[in-house]
Symmetry: C2
Subunit: 344 residues, 2 copies
């Protein structure tokens, strides 16, 4: 419904009749992905990079490039768009009867299973060099490592937890209610976007996305915004006005349900984390207000071969989104170090 | 418009044609207050206790009673309802042309000046024993002490800052947008409350009002709620569904503009705080997400005769609202100690 990408710069994998964890079957499901760089002969240089809430692979490309850790001249980087994001199967592009307000519930494991089809069944990759991602991309990374421990050597999840905390769930209730309060949303069966609701998402999100200190120091002035109100309208409202309301709701629902304890054969979050064999570098931001450092540290302590390295930044959750060069450089350095480490 | 109080248990002071700081004149303005206990002969035992966002004096009465620090057998406690709260002049009760969506902007200093009329002109009290309050009540307390330093001996503001921080301002943008997104709000000229918007306020506020740890420990189960969803609907939605939408917007606007630097003759927040001569006990909650301990400490350091004593609690901002007995006892003890201290 919404034009996400001016350039069709990605490929699509047909997933067939894709059975979802909560019961529905998404007939003719599709996974959109973009490949950067070439696979080497034994396909041992592949890095999988899933997307975050509201974003597409294009929004993650700040982390990829020659000279960066994710260097396409050395690695084959597969960016995979999560279901619901508008490029892979989503409320905005799926045919009836599972279209718009009737798009079924997607779980983090559904995303991981779809990506597993791409990596294992389509590309026949035996083992990934790394899975990495930001925010919901971090959640998919953790879920990959617990569901298929032997399928990757390394993981770098940043600004995300394996399981969504109850408070994070509550914050997302506020985000969702901003959309559903707009009468134009019409239970998801709208002809045009509920603009007021999308603007409200921006205002609700603004307090969560960046830290108290960021606003105190008026750091938005460093990013081309002329006042606080200009940042709220010119950045936050504008950001969400580009999105499809149902897609946002679908991804928020996936995020709310993220729970690594639901991995098959596991009985708890800690048990699932303990299964991870990949060498892990986990990077929360010190001032993240919803994927908090302390929550990430608690989880990281359950992973056998892991380091938790907080990003020292006042950019809160936005430290990980490519908004602030210093933070991007810090994350890049972490990925680089881990890629240079040999794992037996 | 909304029936706030089943019992008319308060008095009203006619403020006359009340000139507001930002220019409008509220003709026939009223200040609603409730007196507990009697004034002694020299009127030296009077405590002023202004209300918080969305609340009336009834919501503050948990802090008053025999055996409590605010003991009506010893003190005369004057509870004053802030403008916009539905009992004092408000969008919901003021006549045209300043009714509903056209109610003018109220500042913290407007509230303090209206209360000054009650205390000084009507009751002829020379000096208050104490001014105290929670949240926006704390903001009024700080403003009293800076605007009229000689008019009270002691102050106890809890869970509030003298000036609203930029991030706190942003959080309130989210709260306001939850209401204004509901088409039934109609720019404030509604015939019945915008219920969807009020519910959304509840969902947006839920993540801010209580701490991460509160939700992690499912502490709502201790308060008569059977699940997280039951707490979101049964407490948060129900809480705001009782309120008038325009009144909430008016108070949120007052809160957003709270800035003690605007005190007459002052050039900065720190200068205004430095003017305060009252002995001050300032009590932030350790886990408050918007009136944060560090922000309160920074301000308290500018007050000459002040102690900052954080409330050790996981109840966040709700530590101060009478929701959790231990926190109420902690605040009560602080007020008691200060009342027992003699001041020259």
């Amino acid at each position: 419904m919404t034009e996400y990408s001016a350039i069709h710069d990605y490929e699509e994998l047909e997933l067939g009749d894709f059975r979802l964890q909560e019961g529905a079957t998404l007939r003719g499901a599709k996974l959109a992905y973009k490949q950067h760089g070439e696979m080497n002969n034994d396909k041992s240089n592949v890095i999988l990079y899933p997307t975050f809430f509201s974003g597409t692979h294009q929004d993650d490309e700040y982390m990829i490039g020659e000279g960066m850790a994710l260097d396409p001249s050395k690695y084959c980087i597969l960016q995979v768009n999560q279901l619901g994001n508008g490029l892979s199967s989503s409320p905005s592009n799926h045919p009836e009867p599972y279209d718009q307000g009737n798009f079924p519930v997607i779980t983090t494991l559904d995303n991981v299973r779809a990506q597993h089809q791409l990596v294992m069944d389509y590309f026949h990759i035996d083992q990934l060099e790394m899975v990495c991602g930001y925010s919901m991309g971090a959640q998919q990374t953790f879920q990959w490592a617990a569901a298929y421990p032997e399928k990757m050597r390394k993981i770098v999840p940043w600004c995300g937890t394996a399981s969504t905390t109850p408070h994070n769930y509550v914050f997302l209730e506020g985000v969702k209610s901003a959309i559903t309060t707009d009468g134009h949303w019409q239970q998801g069966f709208y002809d045009s976007q509920p603009h007021k609701g999308l603007r409200a998402v921006g205002r609700v999100y603004a307090g969560w996305g960046l830290s108290q200190q960021f606003y105190y120091e008026q750091r938005y002035l460093d990013h081309g915004f002329s006042s606080l109100e200009d940042f709220l309208a010119g950045f936050w409202e504008a950001f969400f006005l580009q999105k499809d309301a149902n897609n946002l709701l679908s991804m928020a629902q996936t995020w709310q349900r993220a729970d690594i304890a639901r991995t098959e054969g596991c009985h708890s979050r800690d048990e699932a984390l303990n299964r991870i064999t990949a060498k892990a570098l986990v990077m929360p931001c010190e001032t993240d207000l919803y994927f908090r450092r302390e929550d990430v540290e608690r989880e990281t302590n359950c992973i056998p071969n892991a380091e938790c390295r907080p990003i020292p930044s006042i950019y809160g959750h936005f430290a990980g989104i490519g908004f602030h060069e210093e933070d991007t450089a810090f994350i890049n350095q972490g990925i680089k170090e881990l890629l240079e480490t040999s794992v037996d």
